[in-house]
């Protein structure tokens, strides 16, 4: 123990002399120490230390801790032992997510030095051995000169996963560049190698998700080697602790990783952007250094990334010199323009706003290297897209619901024609089999005249199941054929299963087989999109396009097909704008063809309609749908063809958007009747139509009918095995309608059930879908008079919308109105009026017309708040305007409600006769439309009592 007294005295004296000038300090010390040499020496030492820079007790933390912990855990016992065929020779380091050993093959097969990663992950959640091996196999197939090859992998008896990789003796890319003082150009050139490797992996559907300099090594020959491809994903999927592990690479984590959202190839683009930024400027784009506390890191990652130039301007002269520039200003200048834009494009928060692919990023860097302008794309509305997608699940799913492949009636003959060309004994056998099974189910055999396509298919499928001895080469074509047909009759689940079985292991080696597979992949992709398996859907579509590209590069129709096929998966990944452009381009190509493929053209019109729907492009939606339908008529496409189902649906939506609900209703009913009649109907397709019908009815104030249509939608979705979001979407609609007719309790109960269902389905609270849900819930709470609870949710949702969709969105305007309702319930006129004013401003921005229902609603709130303030004159004037607007655009129910509200004001003002007249007209409508306990009806009934 040190002498406390000695230290105390030394500290006192230090305090006193530390800031004295050198000269006076000396004499003062003489005085204070008064011959105590030890004390004097100590203070001199302190003063000397004070004058030195550098901090104490820093830098060795890793060493200290690793040793302390190894002692605590008993050290590393694995040296000298073997794992699989690998003998552990040495500890190479600690990297990735575990310990890295240097190993050699122990079976003497051949000498091979390799790196073995052992991951202590299994303690919490044992991996599925089978799945692990399967995925390991995929990883092992990843062969690229810039990717460290995975050689082996397995699980230890304790269940810890291990991987053996090619041993890479290299230096992290940033250190390597700095050591060699590589200039900006050379750094970009080196980085392009990285992109080549990542792109290769992406083409094999592998996302790295942990790209950072320590995983990007440069070997002695100057070649880039990427480590750990696919491993992060494997672990993350299996291992609960991986979530904690994410914490470490925070500096490179993309927003979607931080928010625990879906990881796509865009995640790697983000991380590449950070690495590139670091390589070029020497700084982290979010100013994260090793010294940044973790909590601060998370916060900083929410900021806007620093621009490359700003970072360069802040660089040290040494960093600038290491990049071949004279000073930081020169470095900033070198990075201005192209490179800064490229990095910024990688670092867009929205996945779809980043580069669409690593190849696109590489192209831009090549352009820069060739001094050509880069094409870094502008920010796209991905967040908006995602939200819209979630909000409109039912609708969006059917973006892909058009069966582009085959019209039921012609399917068999088309297929026969295609297969017959191949003229093999096998195909003839398949045909015979198919003929047999279909004949077995034919009306003549079953004595049932009304055999639906669906029954025919079911019969064929069962026949196939029973004949277990059928050779795969015969079975698979039939399965694919049936898969396509099941999709045509609207059973994506069975379609997916059959197509999967039918395409398993197929690697086409000739053009015909490749194109046939490409066509089937398109159907498969659509079926997957219907099942909300969007990433799989995208993958299938891209595989299909790749096949066409490879086997028919010169065939314009095949290229058109490759370009034209898009699903929700594309939208989710690339954003609406990109998809729209692609569809427009494809349509232009098709229009230039003498005989464009009808299915493709109709699909394009459908997709363009869906885009217009999303972008609230009211007129375009109706127009593009009409054009598409006209094309269908001129090409003799039968009205019940699934090819035009989306066009018909889009036309209904277009009419609804244009406030033409009666026409929309008529259309919906006609299409529903036709769809139901064609037999073996598609539940998903029908559910979409019923949902549209419900909307059309609701817009006309026919809530009971709307409710019935929604219930039917719900049933259809249940039979269809729809995903949780689809179901919840319908339940939200149902709950909202219950609230409208005044069954508040039922409405609330349904909402709460939906919450539970979503929780059960593990739709995370952060799922953007919940935004729509929250809006609905808040409205139901308001309807139930639970104002405080509603406001709490509304505030949170409004904030979220402000951040994601922005203040110019429809949702924002709508939420402001909901907030106004809450203010009205709270009796807070000032706040309410402010909210209404803002809502009006936003709505006008978005093209609200004075005679619209929306304008009337806002006037109603003006009036209500005026009433609250006791300003009866204003209240009356505004309410009259509202009523005026509704006369042209509103439905009878809305007019009745507005009339009764006006009557209320008139009674306050003593104008009984007019009030009575208004109520006489309004009450029957209200009583007819809603339940007795409905708020507006109750208010109106109360007025009648007042008038007596």
């Amino acid at each position: 123990m040190r002498s406390a007294a000695g230290i105390g005295r030394a500290l006192e004296i230090f305090d006193e002399v530390a800031d004295l000038p050198e000269a006076s300090r000396h004499s003062r010390l003489d005085e204070l120490c008064a011959g105590d040499a030890a004390l004097r020496a100590r203070i001199e030492a302190m003063l000397a230390a004070d004058a030195r820079s550098g901090d104490l007790f820093e830098g060795n933390a890793a060493v200290r801790w690793s040793d302390a912990l190894q002692v605590a855990t008993g050290g590393d016992a694995l040296l000298g032992s073997t794992i699989g065929v690998w003998k552990i020779v040495a500890v190479a380091g600690r990297g990735g997510m575990g310990i890295v050993y240097e190993v050699q093959r122990a079976d003497g097969a051949y000498t091979q030095r390799a790196a073995l990663k052992l991951i202590h992950a299994a303690a919490q959640s044992p991996l599925s051995y089978e799945r692990f091996l399967r995925e390991r196999q995929i990883l092992a197939q990843l062969r690229h000169p810039n990717i460290a090859t995975l050689l082996d992998g397995g699980l230890t008896p304790a269940g810890d996963p291990w991987f053996v990789m090619e041993y890479v003796d290299g230096v992290p890319i940033d250190a390597w560049c700095d050591e060699r003082r590589l200039g900006v150009r050379a750094r970009v050139e080196l980085f392009v190698q990285v992109l080549d490797a990542v792109s290769h992996a992406h083409r094999n559907l592998l996302v790295h998700r942990d790209l950072k300099p320590s995983n990007l090594l440069v070997d002695a020959t100057g070649r880039i080697k990427l480590l750990d491809f696919g491993i992060a994903k494997q672990l993350q999927e299996h291992d609960a602790t991986a979530l904690d592990d994410r914490a470490v690479t925070f500096g490179y984590a993309s927003p979607e990783q931080l928010n625990n959202e879906a990881i796509t190839t865009a995640t790697d683009i983000w991380q590449l952007g950070i690495v590139l930024h670091l390589l070029l400027s020497g700084a982290h784009p979010f100013r994260i250094t090793r010294d940044t506390p973790l909590a601060k890191q998370i916060q900083q990652l929410d900021d806007q990334p620093q621009s490359l130039m700003a970072a360069a301007a802040d660089a040290t002269p040494g960093q600038a010199a290491a990049r071949g520039t004279d000073d930081p200003a020169a470095l900033a200048k070198a990075l201005r323009g192209g490179l800064a834009e490229i990095v910024a494009t990688c670092l867009r928060r929205a996945q779809s706003a980043r580069y669409a692919s690593v190849d696109a990023l590489a192209t831009d860097l090549q352009y820069w290297l060739q001094d050509r302008p880069v094409v870094a794309k502008r920010a796209g509305p991905r967040e908006r897209t995602a939200l819209w997608l979630r909000r409109n699940r039912v609708l969006a799913a059917s973006l892909a619901a058009v069966a582009t492949a085959l019209v039921v009636g012609t399917a068999v003959s088309l297929w026969q024609a295609r297969e017959a060309q191949r003229e093999s004994a096998r195909t003839r056998e398949s045909l015979q089999f198919l003929a047999d099974t279909l004949t077995a189910a034919a009306p003549e055999q079953t004595l049932n005249r009304e055999v639906s396509v669906r029954q025919l298919l079911d019969s064929a499928r069962h026949q196939l199941d029973q004949r277990s001895s059928v050779d795969a080469q015969v079975r698979q074509p039939v399965q694919r054929m049936l898969g396509r047909l099941y999709f045509s009759v609207g059973d994506p689940q069975l379609a997916t299963e059959l197509l999967e079985a039918g395409m398993r292991g197929i690697e086409p080696d000739n053009r015909a087989a490749a194109l046939a597979l490409a066509d089937d992949l398109v159907v498969y992709s659509d079926a997957l999109a219907n099942l909300e398996r969007n990433a799989d859907s995208l993958a299938a579509s891209e595989r299909s396009a790749a096949l066409r590209q490879k086997f028919a590069p010169d065939d314009p129709e095949q290229q058109l097909r490759a370009l034209a096929h898009q699903t929700v998966g594309h939208v989710q990944k690339y954003g609406w704008e990109i998809c729209r452009q692609r569809a427009e381009r494809a349509l232009a190509i098709a229009n230039r063809m003498a005989n464009p493929p009808v299915d493709v053209v109709l699909r394009l019109y459908s997709d363009l309609g869906s885009v217009a729907n999303f972008t609230n492009d009211r007129n375009r939606l109706l127009q593009v749908s009409e054009e598409g339908l006209a094309f269908a008529v001129s090409h003799a496409v039968p009205p019940q063809s699934p090819l035009i189902a989306t066009l018909l649906r889009n036309r209904i939506e277009g009419l609804l958007l244009l406030d033409r609900p009666a026409e929309a209703e008529a259309q919906a009913r006609a299409v529903i009747a036709m769809t139901e009649k064609s037999g073996g109907f598609a539940a998903t397709r029908l559910s979409v139509l019923y949902n549209a019908l419900a909307k059309a009815l609701g817009a006309q104030g026919r809530f009971r009918e709307s409710l019935a249509a929604l219930m039917h939608t719900n049933e259809l979705l249940l039979t269809d095995g729809s995903g949780p979001r689809n179901l919840a979407a319908v339940r939200v609609n149902l709950a909202t309608t219950y609230a409208q007719i005044g069954d508040y309790a039922q409405s609330l109960q349904l909402m709460e059930q939906s919450i539970a269902a979503l929780d059960q389905a593990r739709v995370a609270a952060a799922d953007t879908f919940r935004l729509h849900y929250e809006e609905g819930y808040a409205r139901v709470l308001l309807a139930n008079g639970r104002t405080a609870q509603a406001r709490q949710r509304l505030d949170a949702t409004l904030e979220l919308v402000r951040k994601t969709l922005g203040v110019h969105s429809e949702d924002y305007a709508r939420l402001l109105v909901d907030e106004a309702e809450a203010a009205l319930q709270d009796g807070d006129a000032a706040r309410g009026q402010r909210l209404v004013a803002e809502a009006r401003e936003r709505a006008i921005e978005r093209g609200m017309t004075p005679a619209s229902r929306q304008a009337a609603e806002l006037l109603h709130y003006d009036s209500a708040f005026a009433l609250l303030r006791g300003d009866l004159l204003t209240a009356e004037a505004r309410q009259r305007e509202a009523l005026q607007s509704l006369q042209s655009s509103g439905n009878p129910f809305e007019i009745a409600v507005a009339s009764s509200e006006l009557a209320d004001i008139l009674i306050e003002r003593g104008e009984y006769p007019e009030a009575r007249k208004l109520l006489d007209r309004a009450l029957p409508v209200l009583r007819e439309t809603v339940l007795p306990q409905q708020r507006d009806l109750k208010a109106a009934e109360a007025l009648v009592l007042k008038l007596r």
Binding site: I7, R64, D244
Partner: protein, 188 residues
């Protein structure tokens, strides 16, 4: 550890400790200690030579409070406890190294594989700082806390000021003094 140190637990324990329950403080401390070791172990598995004390303590902090937003009081308390626990881990180890050194007469302890090795010097450094803190405890407890937070918690001056609810300049002045003292001690 026989009890779970869940997020809610830690703030509850701290509240109890504030109310004078010494047992609660011990339990909170033990939870922090255990969490710290776990996180350090994980970190060391992942990162080669880039281990940062600050990252460790902040991660431990985040982990311990979970989704909660503890009161500033709890927060400061917890951060201080973390520094103390860090000190404990490292001091224990340094003692162990020192003991080995005495037995083997080797200046360097090789645990295995020559990956990392704590030098005897490093162990002495840890023990010196620890010892100095003990001494300071008697004459200037505030200074002792500053040293503990700075050296073992890895906190920055501003963080220490916030934890101790002192103005920055006070902490800066304290640390200047303490740093000089410690460096002098280490050279002695």
């Amino acid at each position: 550890m026989t009890f779970p140190a869940g997020p809610t637990q830690i703030t509850q324990l701290l509240a109890l400790a504030r109310a004078g329950d010494e047992g609660a403080l011990d339990r909170a401390y033990a939870a922090v200690y255990e969490e710290l070791k776990q996180i350090a172990r994980r970190q060391l598995r992942r990162e080669r030579g880039t281990f940062e004390t600050t990252v460790l303590v902040h991660e431990a902090y985040l982990k311990l409070v979970g989704g909660e937003r503890p009161s500033p009081e709890d927060r400061n308390h917890l951060l201080a406890l973390t520094a103390r626990a860090m000190r404990q881990v490292l001091v224990d180890h340094a003692r162990y190294v020192n003991a080995l050194k005495r037995n083997c007469g080797s200046p360097t302890l090789t645990l295995q594989g020559d990956v990392h090795a704590t030098s005897g010097h490093d162990a002495v450094e840890v023990l010196t700082v620890d010892d100095t803190i003990e001494a300071l405890q008697k004459i200037d407890p505030r200074l002792a806390r500053v040293v503990e937070l700075r050296c073992f918690g890895g906190y920055e001056i501003a963080e220490i000021a916030s934890i101790m609810e002192l103005p920055d300049y006070t902490v800066r002045r304290d640390w200047r003094k303490a740093r000089a003292l410690l460096m002098a001690e280490l050279e002695a």
